[in-house]
Amino acid sequence: MNPAVAQSPIVSITQVTKDYTLGKVVVPALRGVDLQVHPGEFISIAGPSGSGKTTLLNLIGCVDTATGGVVRVAGQDTKQLSERQLTHLRLHTIGFIFQSFNLVSVLDVFQNVEFPLLLQRKLDKAQRRERVMQLLEQVGLAHHAKHRPNELSGGQRQRVAVARALVTRPQLVLADEPTANLDSVTGQNIIDLMKELNQKEGTTFIFSTHDAKVMNHANAVVRLADGKILDRLTPAEATRAMAAGAEAH
């Protein structure tokens, strides 16, 4: 890996605020956040509901823009990009894993994974097939390629989603509560899978969670509360801090 690239952060957030308008009331979701994420990192964003985890991920994922401050993804200031360019950036740079899997129900497993490649229009049919099968292999669903999502269990579906997020070889994968809809063992497996891919492919992962067991797998835990970053800890520190917080309650 090029050290120069490794040096510059893939995500750089400075003094970012985000306000939502609910009727006439302005609700601040983020109130000045600074965050740097470097390539190859496996970062967990932790915090109670309403702390701004999803908002932060949306800003990083280019599906939303900040009210104030600068969000740079892969070196580009998202505020300066048009809607088309943002879509383009998402397609080529970012992979998404959703809490509710969000597979296209009418397509089978193979087609779901192939979907982003078709949008990219970079690979021919054989190359796509090879890429898709390789990923399905990695997530252990090669034999389920022809199944429809509704024929799979939740864990299997999320693994398809992981494969879909990684099939374009994005620099960055965002996962918003990827394990929230899964039981703890399956959730564990998904995190293991993500970690494995992080180590093998060097893909940067940012995922939100409020589950301490999940956090333990991260390189770093960014704690968020009331729209602000509390601190950036190691998983062990974070677990202790959260335990303390819980006692304080």
């Binding site: 994922g61 939303d64 383009h88 080529h92 959703f98 509710s100 969000n102 397509l107 049919k125």
Partner: protein
């Protein structure tokens, strides 16, 4: 390419995934079916009807005077015959038209109508009796003549008896005030033996009494409307090859005469009881109706039971006896009254109808005159001429004709044909004969022609005294002289025998002319060129297509098509609204899916084409289904044919069955409509779908 494949995959997978799609598909399916079947049926009908119109009287093009007040309407319009200005001299028009390379033939025509009366049975019988007495007066009595006279006399006597019976019956219904005592008295006198015993003393006096006092009491002799086309009969038959003589013979070349349409002959001149039997048989055999449950058939049966007078009056005593015997045998009855026997005989049910029908034609028909007119008879046609006076022409009926395939059509069947010379007489324009006749009369009376401009001077000028016009003595008109003239009466006698040359037929007025083309596809062009040719020749001609010339009838299918397309339009507008709503719902249901695609990196254009492709695929799949079923129905109809259930349909079907065909045009029309409708109805939902934010992918199920 992969892009499109993905779109198609998503579209096809989505096709049956939601009930809404099935609803939309269903609407498209039936809409397409309607467009295909309805369109093909109407096209086929249009085609068949154009064959009917072109092949009967219209030809491809009709030409008439441009100075006409009304438009030419060959089948009449709501207000009766159109007011047309005549083409003064057809012989000048014909060569102009025939010069055009695409014109095959030109047939002169004129359409008009008159009332004819079929005559009062008593009147007719009395006339026969009077003839016999005249013969006796001229040639003396022979045994044969005596026998004839006695037979007709007893027939008349029987009629009087029947009239009295009927009077007695109607008296039960009417108050005394409604009974004319003089009528009753006359009838009573005619019933007495004394009257008949003294009949021979002064037969003409007795006849006069019967003619003046008895015959008018019989409300017979209904007026019949007779529509006729005066034409060059030979050219007509050559031109309209669907025409064929059914009964009798064609009018000999150049002679005056008439061909009745077989339909008219059957439906208006046939004995009504027989016609009703025919109609019942037709409905039973062709339309599978039953007397037991069809009110129309029951009415005919009822009418046959009660309206037996027409038969009773026809039969003289000998035939009455024969008929009575035959019916008694047929019915196994001892009833002596023929009226009651007939009533019983005509009490037909589904069980005995066929037997009675067969028996009627085998036993009764030979005793009856089934038609009021026989081939070779002469009828008097009385018409109001254009200038308002009444003109009568005696016409020999040579035969009946029909247009092949249009036998049962009232539209084509109400057209009777006559020679052009007689038509001109009835229409009030002077034929060469008439002109000569009038000139002769003028000469005889010492009149001379005065130009209109000079009339005043002639009348009131210096020497006006010598040229004063008619010097008639009121009240002393001898009609044989002043109206016929010695020579005129003779001429009228020979008119029927005279043979006219082609030149005479063509030199004179016609109202319109039918033009047959060699290549009918060049109709519009030929019409334009003929209009120009008319102008160049200094003739004021109006050139119209058969469709225009057929008046409302020509527009009928166009109207039906408009109704169909309006219905289709409404259906598809409804479909548009429903599809639009359904697609909105479908889009809302798929907000997360669309949001996910957007988040993953699908551009708005992708979402737009995805929704559009989906509806178009939906439209194509169900539309193709509709087309397939439609084609199946059409091919089934094509091989089985649609029976023409009633007389009007014969004309529209151009025959007893319509074998409709499906054209590529019908399918293309259906395809285009389906595509346009499904695309339009999806535009807004598709637009909405593109507005779905990728943020919506993040929302959780709850």
């Amino acid at each position: 390419m992969g892009h499109f494949r993905l779109l198609m995959q998503v579209a096809f997978r989505n096709l049956f995934s939601s009930k809404i799609n099935l609803l939309i598909g269903g609407i498209i399916f039936f809409g397409t079916l309607l467009v295909v079947v309805g369109g093909a049926l109407l096209d086929s009908m249009d085609d068949a009807m154009s064959r009917s119109i072109i092949g009967s009287v219209a030809g491809h093009i009709q030409v008439y005077s441009d100075e006409s007040k009304d438009k030419l309407s060959l089948y009449g319009d709501w207000t009766g015959e159109p007011d047309l200005t005549v083409l003064d001299d057809f012989s000048r028009v014909k060569p102009v038209l025939e010069k055009h390379p695409n014109v095959k033939t030109v047939v002169p025509m004129g359409t008009s109508g008159a009332l004819i009366t079929s005559g009062n049975t008593v009147d007719l019988t009395l006339a026969r009796l009077r003839d016999l007495y005249k013969q006796r007066a001229e040639k003396g009595e022979t045994p044969e003549l005596r026998e004839n006279i006695d037979s007709v006399k007893s027939h008349v006597r029987q009629m009087v008896a029947l009239m009295e019976e009927q009077k007695a019956k109607s008296r039960e219904l009417l108050s005394d005030a409604a009974v004319d005592p003089q009528e009753a008295e006359a009838l009573a006198r005619a019933r007495t033996d004394a009257f008949w015993d003294s009949f021979e003393e002064d037969p003409f006096d007795s006849l006069e009494f019967l003619e003046n006092r008895i015959a008018p009491q019989l409300p017979d002799g209904d007026l019949l409307d007779l529509r006729y086309v005066g034409t060059d009969l030979d050219a007509f038959q050559r031109t309209f090859d669907r025409m064929e003589i059914v009964d009798g013979q064609p009018v000999p070349t150049g002679k005056r005469g008439m061909l009745l349409s077989e339909f008219y002959y059957e439906n208006f001149l046939k004995l009504k009881s027989a016609l009703r039997l025919d109609n019942i048989k037709q409905e039973r055999d062709v339309n599978k109706k039953r007397i037991a449950d069809d009110p129309q058939l029951q009415r005919w049966v009822k009418e046959n039971q009660t309206q037996t007078r027409e038969i009773l009056f026809q039969l003289d005593p000998i035939k009455t006896r024969l008929a009575t015997e035959r019916l008694q045998k047929a019915l196994g009855s001892q009833e002596p009254s023929l009226e009651k026997l007939l009533s019983a005989f005509f009490t037909t049910t589904d069980e005995n109808f066929d037997e009675r029908y067969q028996r009627f034609y085998a036993d009764l028909a030979p005793l009856l005159e089934l038609y009021r007119l026989r081939m070779g008879d002469t009828i008097t046609i009385t018409a109001f001429t254009r200038s308002g006076y009444v003109q009568s022409v005696n016409m020999k009926v040579y035969g009946t004709y029909q247009f092949n395939g249009l036998e049962k059509s009232a539209m084509a069947g109400l057209i009777n044909l006559m020679d052009l010379m007689s038509f001109r007489d009835l229409y009030g324009y002077l034929s060469a004969d008439k002109k000569a006749e009038i000139a002769e009369l003028q000469q005889a009376s010492g009149l001379k022609d005065v130009a209109r401009a000079d009339a005043e001077e002639s009348l009131f000028g210096a020497d006006s005294g010598n040229t004063l016009v008619a010097d008639a003595t009121p009240g002393l008109i001898d009609d044989s002289k002043s109206f016929e003239g010695g020579m005129g009466a003779l001429r009228r006698e020979d008119l029927a025998a005279r043979v006219y040359s082609q030149e005479e037929i063509e030199k004179g007025v016609a109202l319109n002319a039918a033009v047959i083309l060699k290549d009918p596809t060049k109709l519009d062009q030929t019409m334009r060129e003929l209009t120009q040719a008319g102008k160049d020749a200094g003739l004021k001609l109006r050139v119209v297509s058969w469709q225009t010339a057929a008046g409302f009838l020509g527009q009928f299918v166009t109207m039906a098509k408009m109704v169909l397309y309006f219905a289709v339009f409404i259906i598809f507008v409804v479909a548009l609204v429903i599809i639009n709503n359904a697609m909105m719902m479908a889009t809302l249901q798929r907000v997360r899916e669309v949001g996910t695609m957007r988040a993953i990196g699908a551009q708005r254009s992708f979402i737009l084409s995805m929704v559009l492709v989906e509806t178009v695929v939906l439209g194509l799949v169900f539309g193709a289904g509709g087309m397939l079923l439609g084609s199946g129905i059409m091919s089934a109809l094509n091989s089985s044919g649609i029976p023409a259930g009633n007389e009007a349909l014969y004309f529209f079907f151009s025959g007893p069955r319509l074998h409709p065909t499906l054209s590529v045009g019908n399918l293309v029309a259906a395809l285009v409509i389906v595509l346009v409708v499904s695309a339009i109805s999806t535009l807004y939902p598709a637009f909405l779908a593109t507005r779905v934010s990728p943020l919506q992918a993040m929302q959780t199920d709850e």
